[in-house]
């Protein structure tokens, strides 16, 4: 009889893990996926596009139900795993069941953060993480509402843009003096703010939320400077926290997330953690690509490759739906020892920044024109020397191919 493999969480990473195992070692495990959300795994990344009405609900589907069946995977949706008994190697479910596992994989993702401010629990205040949140926003838009989106990061921008496209008057408030401050410098952020304003989003910077006002429901957001922004929909998009409660309760080592080694093994050798809930080499990722890489590595390991390891990921992200392409990859914080190559063309709405460390690319930010995004990401990954094309680098691959030998000759 196959070893029971229980996967907690039916998110994108879980789905990928199952897929990878099924292509490598079909039948080796009897796989059970337990998911809190009442539906098969779907593409969370596309929620923004769904909100912006650029795709239909059906387009979210990752794999049809038949696929799961065909792979012999058992699924339990709409139920949470509530506890892990490591002694007994069992998990307890919210419906009361207790199930044994040989191997346990935690893929519980993240939970969105609600600001610890008064009124954040009022009806009308939501986060942006799952289909239910999108449904709530779409319903509010249909009713006709005013919205405030808190948070000028990727998620907040996409929420605000999606709402604006649904003709909702939206104010985006952001604590810092520029949008996406961790990815963009001032000129790039200004380009983005302009683009958002052109799309009908009112952008208020340096806005510190004091509380959500309202008695029965949310009626507005009050800022610490006393300004009040009326709203019956408040979307809190201020970040996510790895969902490690289960592991913590089970006594596993947990930092920000479930701590795993390069074999993606938690402090209990029978338990793995992948995706946003995992903390690897001190890093928690908020993007899907590293989760997929973890899933692939773990699938190899579980399929018998004892040497399969995960070595960390290069982050790259796109702002998909703001009407202006924004791409960032790698380490663009510009710390000690890094060098910036910056191209700005404000009138054309184009900004490109490539961050070098030594002779390698470690980060890139593109605004307005992200055609070379993947090339940069690959350069970051490969770590190859770009010294010979340094001054063409920011202009993209085609220019490097043409110009490098000429301009750098000296």
């Amino acid at each position: 009889m196959s070893e029971p493999l229980v996967v907690v969480g039916n998110g994108m990473v879980a789905a990928r893990l199952v897929e990878e195992i099924s292509t490598r070692a079909l039948g080796r495990y009897s796989i059970l996926v337990v998911g809190e959300e009442p539906r098969p795994a779907y593409n969370r990344v596309l929620l923004s596009s769904l909100l912006a009405d650029e795709i239909a609900d059906a387009d979210l589907e990752l794999k049809p139900a038949a696929w799961w069946r065909a792979k012999g995977v058992s699924t339990l949706f709409g139920r949470a795993v509530t506890a892990i008994n490591r002694e007994a190697k069992t998990v307890a479910l919210s419906d009361g069941r207790v199930l044994p596992y040989g191997k346990l994989v935690l893929a519980t993702g993240s939970r969105p953060i609600r600001l610890p401010k008064p009124g954040m629990d009022l009806p009308g205040v939501i986060t942006f993480r799952d289909v239910a949140d999108v449904d709530a926003m779409r319903a509010a838009a249909r009713r006709g509402c005013r919205a405030v989106v808190i948070g000028g990061g990727l998620l907040g921008l996409e929420a605000a843009y999606g709402l604006a496209k649904a003709s909702v008057p939206v104010t985006l408030i952001h604590l810092m003096d520029r949008l996406m401050e961790r990815q963009l410098d001032a000129p790039a952020a200004a380009l983005l703010a302009d683009a958002m304003r052109r799309n009908g989003v009112e952008v208020v910077l340096q806005a510190d939320t004091a509380r959500v006002i309202g008695t029965e429901r949310a009626e507005g957001v009050e800022l610490t400077d006393g300004r009040v922004l009326p709203a019956d929909l408040v979307v809190c998009a201020v970040g996510v926290r790895p969902n490690a409660d289960l592991a913590r309760a089970a006594g596993l080592d947990v930092g920000r997330g479930v701590q795993v080694n390069d074999g993606l093994i938690a402090s209990d050798p029978a338990i793995h953690a992948i995706g946003e809930c995992a903390e690897h080499r001190g890093a928690c990722y908020g993007l899907v690509e590293p989760g997929y890489e973890m899933a692939a590595a773990l699938a190899r390991r579980l399929s018998g490759d004892a040497w399969a390891v995960y070595g960390g990921s290069v982050l790259s992200t796109n702002l998909k739906v703001s009407g202006v392409p924004v791409f960032s990859a790698g380490d663009f914080s510009g710390g000690e020892g890094t060098q910036d190559l910056v191209f700005t063309d404000a009138a054309a709405g184009v900004y490109r920044r490539v961050v070098l460390k030594g002779s390698a690319v470690v980060g890139a930010v593109l605004v307005g024109d992200a055609t070379d995004a993947l090339w940069y990401r690959d350069l970051i990954r490969s770590g190859e020397s770009v010294a010979s094309m340094r001054h063409s680098l920011v202009f993209g691959r085609a220019f490097c191919a043409e110009a490098a030998p000429l301009l750098e000759a000296a």
């Binding site: 910036d340 190559l341 191209f343 404000a346 009138a347 001054h391 000296a410």
Partner: protein, 946 residues
């Protein structure tokens, strides 16, 4: 559009040009096959004339400085009122000598005549001088001392007929390209050429022998030659006896200066064997022409040098006959016309001086109330007087004294002291007009209507083929307008240039009777139509009443390079392949009766040569030998140990107001350089392509170092063309001392003591711009024209940000795209208006100089695509500009590196290079450089420094 025959406005060769307007303000330019100066040829400058016609930089209406000090647009009436008032006030308070005109060798004869008449006959001062003072005043003085008149005895045909051509201090290959090629034709048929020049030049490279003489010792060389002629019994004793005076004294002086070959060798730095060879070749070759220009004229002892040369021709009687004679090549298109009119402070008018009888004669002719009775101030003296406050009102026409005068900084400061500075200009902003109170828009080439005279005394028409834009007027009209306001309207009531020319011609003949060389009385009655159709003619053209001088009326040989068989004038015009000059003059019948052997009245043919009869214009009709004294060698000091020589480069002209607009001309020598011998470079720590500061006690400039074997150690060379608009700090005139020749007053621009020091450079780069913008002066930059704008290479110490700030300030309202790599000190920016590039700047650390050739396609685009905006700053579209090396052939845009490649690929001479690259097949001005590049490939060591 119909073609107009006119004359090139650049050098003294005076080539005929056929201009065909394109109806859009430009014109197609071709050489005039019928013009005897060039027979259809043009040099690179002439060929590019069509590119200089744009109106972007033009001054189109008068401007006056208001009470607040700002220049504002004004009406002609108001402007001329102000000029007249200012001159009247100065004259009333301080006398006529408190006002002056400073003119230009580029003015037409008619403009010159009116200016001269107004100042010398009506205002009553001799203060008319011209920038020609800077280039050929020593020739004038030398001619007058020897001949009693300012006469160029020979003609271009002599170059075809000579067996020996000696060029002294002349870089004709660059400065008189069309004549240069004519001389090369002579070499092909066997004539020999010797070039005497301290610098190795393209001219020297194209000669049989280059004698790299020590600076300033030309007079010693020719004194030595005179001694040799006497001792070798090569002197023409009968000619000396019958037609000259002063031989014994001159020979004695020459012996003192150059007693023997060894002494001459020691003084001139030439090898005795080379000297012996040169002397004996000169002595034994009857047909020898000795040509000279700036290198002789611009010297403390310039006039003596001229006479040292003329002495040798007089001693052998080699003057006035075909294929021989001394020959002064003038630099400016109409220096000769200015001299004829008398537009120099030490001449009165029409080759007359200030003797009481001459003053009286001219006064009667003009009906002038206030004749000037003595010489006025010559250029350098004039600006000194301005500095002292002795001159209150100055009218500058067609020249840029703050660039071209010696001690140019002092000249600029002096001009700021004037009560009234009037500047007549083509272009809106020149260095000189910064201090101007009144700016008057002058007609430019293509609009002007009048005559010019070239180096061989040939008067040609400059005809208009474009309408005068805006409120532009010819200079003579502005002058006449002021004359009228001062109450002399009647004497200046000319209805056009033809009327002025007739009066000028009549004055030349007035009470002349063969006593004065300059006599064009035969043209005094030209009808307007005949003036319009006037064919190029060499003066004198006497009125038939006087028997012609020997040689007068001889028809010029119409072709050159045709071999000596065609020399007979009678058959020359029917030679195969040569179009006979058109003769269509309609001349009113002369007032006097027919004169004996006079040339046909209907066909005043002009005069190819003078003095063949051995009669000169001195009172005793004898030519004078001049005893030459030893000249002071250039004085260098421990602080200023080098001698600074200045001059022109091939494709630029004067202060680049016009040539600076032409992309073709910009590529040849795009920057102001200091040419330095490798030994001096080592000594002073200069590196080729680096920057240096060259300074004299008068001023300083920052130039790019060009290490060159062509320099003699101890001497450096800098071009004169750059000004504050075209370069950061390259007004070489600011360094030049105000030492003048005692006879001619011509400044010695060839030998100023100077010091050089390297300037460290941390930055390199370039700026492309539609307009020339003043960039930060603490950096090195120089604008040269490219298609659709200008480019400046950057060097020195500065930051990209500074340059960008300057561009942003000068070009407000542009969209700006930029690329910055702070760590590597790389900055690039594009300034864009309506999708079109307005300016591009690239900077990089020194030693990583970026090129711009790859950007030129984008530069030409009327609307940039989105990707293009990246491409502009990526520099990716093609090879880098500087990789191509300097432009060699301006006509076909062939760069030095392409030529080198072709040479490496087997081309061994200009013909094969022409076949391979087209280089040198149009104007041919680059043929010397093609040869140099071939030679350089043969002996890489010798020219390694270049």
């Amino acid at each position: 559009m119909t073609a107009t025959r006119t004359t090139c406005p650049y050098c003294g060769v005076g080539c005929g040009v056929v201009a065909t307007p394109d109806g859009q303000g430009g014109a197609a330019i071709a050489g005039d096959p019928e013009h005897p100066a060039n027979f259809g040829r043009l040099c690179s400058k002439g060929s590019a004339l069509g590119e200089t016609l744009g109106l972007e930089t033009r001054l189109l209406h008068p401007m006056m400085r208001d009470a607040g000090g700002a220049l504002r647009r004004a009406s002609w009436d108001a402007a001329l009122d102000r000029v007249a008032e200012g001159f009247a006030t100065a004259i009333r308070r301080h006398g006529p000598d408190s006002v002056a005109f400073y003119l230009s060798g580029q003015l037409l004869t008619e403009d010159y005549y009116v200016a001269n008449k107004l100042m010398k006959g009506f205002i009553g001062s001799g203060n008319v001088d011209t920038n020609s003072r800077l280039c050929m005043a020593s020739s004038v003085a030398g001619h007058k001392r020897a001949f009693g008149s300012d006469t160029v005895p020979g003609c271009y045909d002599d170059l075809d007929e000579a067996d020996l051509l000696v060029l002294v201090g002349s870089n004709a290959a660059w400065c008189h390209p069309v004549l240069w090629q004519r001389m090369q034709k002579s070499r092909e048929r066997g004539a020999r050429m010797v070039v005497i020049d301290p610098r190795g030049t393209a001219t020297g490279e194209g000669a049989d022998t280059h004698l790299a003489i020590r600076h300033g010792t030309d007079a010693v060389l020719f004194a030595g030659l005179l001694v040799h002629l006497a001792d070798a019994r090569a002197a023409a004793l009968p000619f000396i006896a019958d037609h000259t005076s002063g031989f014994a004294l001159a020979l004695a002086a020459a012996r003192a200066l150059a007693p023997n070959l060894a002494e001459v060798a020691a003084k001139t730095g030439l090898a005795a064997a080379d000297l012996r060879a040169f002397f004996s070749e000169w002595a034994s070759t009857e047909r020898v022409v000795t040509l000279y220009s700036q290198g002789v004229n611009q010297a403390v002892a310039g006039t003596d040098k001229v006479n040292a040369i003329i002495n040798c021709h007089l001693a052998t009687g080699r003057i006035g006959r075909p294929g021989m004679g001394p020959f002064s090549l003038t630099g400016q298109p109409n220096a000769m016309g200015g001299r004829e009119v008398g537009g120099l402070a030490n001449q009165l008018a029409a080759h007359m001086g200030f003797s009481p009888s001459e003053v009286d004669r001219v006064g009667r002719f003009w009906g002038a109330p206030m004749m000037a009775t003595r010489e006025g101030r010559k250029a350098v003296d004039l600006f000194d007087a301005i500095e002292r406050g002795a001159i209150k009102a100055l009218w500058v026409m067609g020249t840029n004294p703050t660039v071209s005068l010696p001690r140019a900084d002092a000249a600029r400061a002096a001009m700021a002291k004037l009560d009234l500075l009037v500047v007549s200009e083509n272009v809106l902003s020149t260095d000189s007009s910064a201090a101007a109170h009144v700016l008057l828009p002058a007609a430019a080439w293509g609009e002007k209507d009048g005559t010019v005279t070239n180096s061989e005394r040939r008067i040609s028409r400059q005809r208009p083929f474009l309408p005068m834009p805006g409120e532009v007027r010819p200079d003579w009209q502005a002058l006449a307008g002021v004359a009228a306001r001062l109450g002399w309207g009647e004497a200046f009531a000319f209805d056009g240039p033809a009327a002025i020319f007739r009066e000028h011609a009549a004055l030349s003949a007035f009470e002349n009777a063969g006593a004065r060389d300059f006599d064009i009385g035969g043209l005094a009655t030209l009808s307007d139509a005949a003036y319009e159709a006037f064919e190029p003619t060499q003066w004198p053209v006497r009125r038939p009443a006087h028997p012609p001088l020997e040689g007068e009326g001889r028809r010029e040989a119409a072709g050159w390079g045709e071999g000596r068989a065609g020399r007979d004038p009678a058959v020359s015009s029917s030679m195969p392949g040569v179009t006979p000059p058109r003769r269509s003059l309609a001349v009113d019948p002369p007032p006097q009766g027919e004169g004996g052997a006079a040339p046909s009245v209907a066909e005043p043919r002009g005069t190819a040569r003078l003095f063949a009869d051995g009669r000169f214009f001195t009172p005793d009709r004898r030519a004078r030998f001049v005893a030459i004294a030893a000249a002071q060698p250039p004085r260098v000091t421990p602080e200023h140990p080098l001698v600074l020589n200045t001059g022109r480069v091939r494709d630029q002209w004067h202060t680049m107001m016009r040539t600076g607009l032409s992309p073709r001309l910009g590529g040849h020598r795009p920057e102001p350089t200091l040419e330095v011998h490798p030994d001096d470079a080592d000594r002073f720590g200069l590196s080729d392509g680096g920057l240096c500061r060259v300074s004299s006690v008068h001023g300083a400039a920052t130039l790019r170092v060009a290490v060159s074997m062509a320099q003699t150690p101890g001497t450096v060379f800098a071009p004169i063309h750059w000004n504050d608009e075209t370069a950061a700090d390259a007004r070489v005139g600011a360094l030049v001392h105000a030492v003048v020749d005692p006879f001619s007053g011509q400044p010695d621009a060839k030998a100023t003591a100077c010091a050089v020091a390297p300037v460290a450079s941390t930055l390199s780069g370039f700026v492309l711009s539609r307009r020339r913008i003043t960039l930060p002066r603490r950096m090195f930059w120089a604008w040269s024209a490219i298609v659709g704008g200008y480019v400046a290479r950057l060097a020195g110490n500065g930051a990209a940000a500074e340059i960008l700030a300057a561009l942003e300030a000068a070009l407000p309202g542009c969209e700006i795209a930029r690329y910055i790599d702070a760590e590597h000190d790389v900055g690039r920016a594009a300034l864009i208006v309506d999708g079109r590039l307005e300016a591009v700047v690239y900077t990089a650390p020194a030693g990583q100089e970026p090129g711009w050739a790859g950007l030129l396609d984008l530069w030409a685009k009327p609307k940039l695509e989105r990707r293009d905006r990246l491409a502009v700053l990526s520099g990716a579209a093609g090879p880098a500009g500087s990789d191509d090396g300097p432009l060699v052939c301006a006509c076909f845009g062939v760069s030095e590196n392409r030529v080198r490649a072709a040479v490496a690929g087997g081309c061994r001479d200009p013909a094969s290079l022409g076949a391979a690259l087209k280089a040198g097949t149009n104007c041919g001005s680059c043929i010397p450089e093609l040869k140099r590049l071939v030679a350089a490939a043969d002996r890489p060591m010798a020219l390694a420094g270049e």
